[in-house]
Symmetry: C2
């Protein structure tokens, strides 16, 4: 097969509430599942507090290493929303009220006060391009290879709709999952290692489960090469069958 370009992204989750355990993050998984069919793999994620220096340091580490960075959180109207300032700081650019963002908020808040706090949501680092927010209007934005999205999952999901056109993806990595009821990881491990060594372009994962119907293992093969993946899954299924377990392919 021809060489396929790998495009990789990082996710930077911003918010004290994620680190204190107050809030369960749902955005990392959502972003990963959104990007995969576009040919972008999430390769690293970080969670940092609402501190400008910490956000900027993590952002600079990630944006130089990966093709894209997606941040979530910290773009609301209150004092603990510091992401826009942190992005400007990281890029070494200024930040000011963006006329287009201001116009969006003026339309949205025509029945209520567009006060100073809400106007904070129109402050965009210089050079930023707005990302539409179909849910609650205050826009996200894009600076360089960094997409700055809301933290509330329903709003974040809405903003992702506006992200797609900006993405230049590469090879799409497909995953196929065999559900193997009764299979213990320790019994399939040696065979799995052999397959992993045989198929250079395929990665294999093994995930044990414990449930009301007993125990088992999900075996996952991932590859950007459909032909190699097909062959790998066939050998994986044969391996499981040789251990006396009938694998069932599932969507996962």
């Amino acid at each position: 097969m021809s060489e396929l370009k790998r495009v990789r992204a990082a996710v930077l989750l911003i918010g004290d509430e994620l680190l204190s355990g107050r809030t369960q993050d749902l955005n990392l998984r959502e972003i990963a599942l959104f990007l995969a069919p576009l040919g972008v793999q999430v390769a690293e994620a970080r969670v940092v507090s609402d501190e400008i220096e910490e956000v900027a340091e993590a952002l600079n580490a990630l944006r130089s290493r990966y093709d894209y960075v997606f941040t979530t959180g910290g773009i609301g109207p209150t004092h603990d929303d510091k992401t826009a300032d942190a992005i400007a700081h990281a890029f070494g650019v200024g930040i000011d009220v963006h006329p287009e963002a201001r116009a969006i908020l003026e339309t949205h808040y025509k029945s209520g006060p567009l006060n100073e706090a809400r106007l904070r949501m129109a402050r965009i680092p210089d050079g930023g391009v707005l990302i539409d927010n179909p849910v609650s209007k205050a826009p996200g934005f894009m600076v360089g290879n960094v997409f700055v999205l809301a933290g509330v999952p329903s709003i974040m999901r809405g903003m992702l709709l506006g992200v797609g056109p900006h993405i230049k993806g590469g090879a799409v990595v497909a995953a196929r999952t065999l559900r193997c009821k009764g299979l213990r990881e320790g019994d399939v491990a040696a065979g799995l290692t052999a397959l992993d060594e045989k198929f250079a372009g395929v990665s294999f994962g093994s995930y044990p489960w414990f449930g009301p119907e007993g125990i088992g293992t999900h075996l996952v093969a991932r590859s950007a090469d459909p032909v190699a993946l097909e062959a790998a899954v066939a050998e994986l299924a044969a391996l499981v069958q040789s251990l006396g377990v009938e694998p069932v392919e599932i969507e996962a």
Copy 2:
């Protein structure tokens, strides 16, 4: 009040399945909620893939910066479980089958094969201290200020029981939450900024919500100083009332 010592931890979540979106992480929140009453605050988290270099690099960045590091994932019997080797690599120490860990596995697998793959789970970096696994026996371990725990949430939770005695905590940060139905962040932001400036030892967070019963905001005050926290919550409640909303304190 007297100066209270802050003890901070980082969490390092290891696994391709977290980055691909296959698996929703639940461990960060669980660890944060476990550590908070012990006087340890989670200050940063990272998610990396099952690659020795990436795990080791992240671990070295985190263990030098924070009092404790908690890793989850990658300590099973299969080829993609590389965490123990990565920890040894990061610390620059050897790794070998630990006699005590081997004995635990021999007892557990006496009715089945303790094969080479399962023996991988007894490989512990030199100097490592075992952490009991009451759920599925194969132990976690502690090296220096790093705790190495399982990735499966139910097993990880079991291992946390053995972590407590090793922790020297500091100031306990308490959080109090006011549920403010009908309150919009943009209306309370200015008052919240004033409170944040007034109470140096208290941090304030604002989290909007949207649900079947309408919209609202959770306002959270956090502090290691009980007296300051009490005063801050009283002023926070008064602020909300001044905006025509009756706050309700909730557990959260």
